[in-house]
């Protein structure tokens, strides 16, 4: 049962990746692209967690945690670049 649920979840978030890619390419605004990248990262984290369940190992959680953190920082940096130019003025 879990297997099927997992596959369903994989499919959902996998679709999420493709959707975010589309948005990232299509834009049209910088905000859209940043949003798409941010969402992609979150989808990726979800997939990573699902993969952890699939493999039955907790070894990928640090990666998820780290990605959550750097994903946030990148998004803010991209936004600040558009907003201010200098990200750490």
């Amino acid at each position: 049962m879990i297997t099927y649920a997992l596959i369903f979840a994989f499919a959902c978030f996998g679709f999420g990746l493709l959707a975010t890619l589309w948005r990232l390419l299509a834009g049209p605004t910088a905000a859209d692209r940043i949003l798409a990248l941010d969402t992609m990262v979150i989808n990726f984290i979800a997939l990573l967690i699902l993969y952890g369940i699939w493999r039955g190992t907790a070894i990928y959680f640090e990666a998820s945690m780290l990605i959550a953190m750097v994903g946030f920082v990148s998004t803010v940096a991209f936004c600040r670049f558009i907003l201010r130019g200098d990200i750490i003025e």
């Binding site: 390419l25 992609m40 990666a63 946030f72 990148s74 991209f78 907003l83 990200i87 750490i88």
Partner: protein, 957 residues
Amino acid sequence: MVSGSGLLPVMVLLPFIGALVPGLMIRAGRNACATFTAVPTVLALVFLGVMAPGVLDGGTVTAKIDWLPALGLNANFMLDGLGLLFAGMILGMGLLITLYARFYLSGDDPMGQFYTYLLLFQGAMLGIVVSDNILLLLVFWELTSLSSFLLIGYWKHLPEGRQGARMALTVTGAGGLAMIAGMLILGNIAGSYDLSVILEHREAIQASEYYLPALILILLGAFTKSAQFPFHFWLPHAMAAPTPVSAYLHSATMVKAGIFLMARMWPVLAGTEEWFYIVSTVGLITMVIGALIALFKDDLKALLAFSTVSHLGLLTMLLGLGSKMAAVVAVFHILNHLTFKAALFMSAGIVDHETHTRDIKRLGGLASLMPVTALIAVVAALSMAGIPPLNGFMSKEMMLEEVAHTHWWGGEWPIIILATLGALLSVAYSFRFIGHTFFGPVRDDYPHHPHDPPVGMLLAPGFLAVLVVLIGLAPMTFAAPIVEAAGLAVTGSEPHVHLKLWHGVTPALFMSMVAVGGGAVLLWLHRPLDRIWLSTPRPEAKVMFDALMRRVVLGSRFITEVAHNGAISRYLAIFTVATILLGYAAFQGGGMPAPTRGLLPVPPLVGVGFVLLMVATAATVTMHRSRFRALILTSVVGLMVSAGFVYLSAPDLALTQISVDTVTVMLMLLALHFLPKETPRESPIGLHIRDGAIAIAAGVAVASLAYAFLLRDIDTISGYHLANSYKGGGGNNVVNVILVDFRGYDTYGEIIVLGIAGLTLYALMEALLNGPASRRLRNWTFPPDRSRDRHPLMMVVATRVMMPIAALVGVYIFLRGHNLPGGGFVAGLVISIALLMQYMASGFAWAQDRKRFEYHSMIGWGVVVAGLTGAGAWLAGQPFLTSAFGYFRIWPFEEFELATAALFDLGVFLTVLGAVMLMLYSLSRLARYAGETVNVDPMDYDPSRREVADSEQKDAR
């Protein structure tokens, strides 16, 4: 073998050591300088005198010193008759020139330099003539080119001097290089570079298939040096040198080096058809052409220069004839030419010195004004013309005699006519030299009123003129011994020379008479002939040479600027194409074993990741002009690569890749702040296609390479690492144990790279702020539509909570790294990112003011801690970076592990943190220089201040 072999190398060395003297002595005055310059020459002459008797008796002095035995280049010297003749000429003339130059050079000329160059040249010449190793000979040969370059260009303020020097060096240098090849071949045939060995291998050499190439290459050296046609043109231009130089180099010594070489090699190279036709033909042509040009030269020195060319041609021809007698005549004429030509040069120098002109058309009638000079010149010139009873007559007669018996290009007549013509022209220009300079009416328009120079200046030419007469009158006394000894050295058999003025009625006598008579007629007809000559178009060697040189320079420049055009994109394209082609060529040379692995299955999600990766990669390319977009797209690429690492069992890689990417993106954003935001469209479509083709080829190449090995298994050394990671390294995470232990040295290097990067960025930032870039920064304008909130409240508040948590995560990742994915590097990046979060929230400068650690010293400590941890192993007698670990228990805590590897990892951590922060610092300094202000408060506006302000106002009321 005769005694005195120890003297020989010392004799060669003397001038070189002596070359130091003038520089030291010049402060003591010109006379002292000249005197002490003469000392080494005199000493060398004395040495030579000591060795001379033995050599004149047919002996040879040898000395052997090992120098570079691996090559067969040894400082082996040999003094035989030929060497003795030349050494005597070089040293004797050297002494005379030293004397003459003392008076010739003016007070403005740097005399010390002159004597230094002179002695260097003398030493080099001396080396050539006593070398018993052809490689050693080459060394001295090239040295003469160099030192003569300095001498010719001595008057560097004269453009002719500079050009002449360069031309001489170019031509003789080129010949010298050809000769190197020739000598190497010769040595290769003979099996040794020792001359004495080579001289014993005549048959082997002449039978070798490499004989002709060797001969041509060596002759190129000799012909260029001795100004043989068609290389004769440099010699007249070298006349821009001071006259002592011309007298020394271009009459007595350097130009004779080529003649010497031909004489030296005569025993092994001469006697073949090739030798005969090449050498004698070149000699004859040179002799006639040189004499013809000499006749129409108005510059005294140019006239003498071309006469020298002509006489060198004569000598070459004689050596080329291949008969022993001709060779002996050549030797005799070398001596004679030296005496009269040097005297003539000196006389010309005196005339120049006194009248301030060398133009024969502005001279005449000097005999009465400077009688002594005139006497010397007349004697020498008559000798040159071959008028009895002077020495020139004798050797000319003997030459004509040899020629008369020679069968050349199908008969005797061609050579007889040409040789006679040469002699005839020789007579004409000799007569013209004295006739138009010293005789005729005294003029009143000399640039400077002449009279005989001081005695010092007359001594040297006078002495030579006396020799001219003495040899002419008593050849058996003054010339025969040395000519015999030298002839023996050249021909290998006792020549039994009988030098006498009267040979009876021979063909030579008739030829001689024709020459003298014809010469006189020519001189009588000179004026009309001169007009014809001047109106005849003829190739001007200097013009051609200059044009050639200019073409070479322009051609070189063209090649250089086409190849190295400063376009790195083309360099890289070439690099890539070359790599692909060479890689493919290498691949073709070997086979491939059969695959041993199947393909792993591809789950659909991996397919999705693949699509993302490829699309993002492709989009990075197609959208690269919008730099920001491209940057976002590369983030996707990075994310997908990390995903791949996760999927393919490399969590450590994923962690590292993703954190490094983040920091890299930050740096790029910081830089992009200043850089243009768009990449202009500037390369033509063809370039895109070319680059696209190269890129695709490279992609296919790399993909195929990877695919090839991915299907084939192999045993690797990492089994050991897996087996011993825990036992020997104390960690479960094998990757981390490899990093901090098995290959900790790599990691040590890697943190040093980071540390250097930090330093470099800092140094560059400082340099930019101190250079012109600072002006650009100072005038920086920011877009007016920037957002007005620099440090939004929400971000600041969120950071206050998240930053400590992120720091905690950093500590966690650091500590667990040894056993699970993580480690000092990732931890350092995590902490950096946490700090970066803070910097983004409240600004770098604000946060920087509150930092606890100096980033510089953090890098320093990191590198030092890692280094000291490694060096700590020395205390235990272990090699650098040997790790130690143990499990400890302290109540009330459970067992824990302590490992030196963790300390090493701490060094890594500190370096990474320090380097990243220093980089960010450097970039943010630039921004502040560009006018960003530093905020006082952590956030743009704290609304609670409004409340406080309100309440304060209330209180105030």
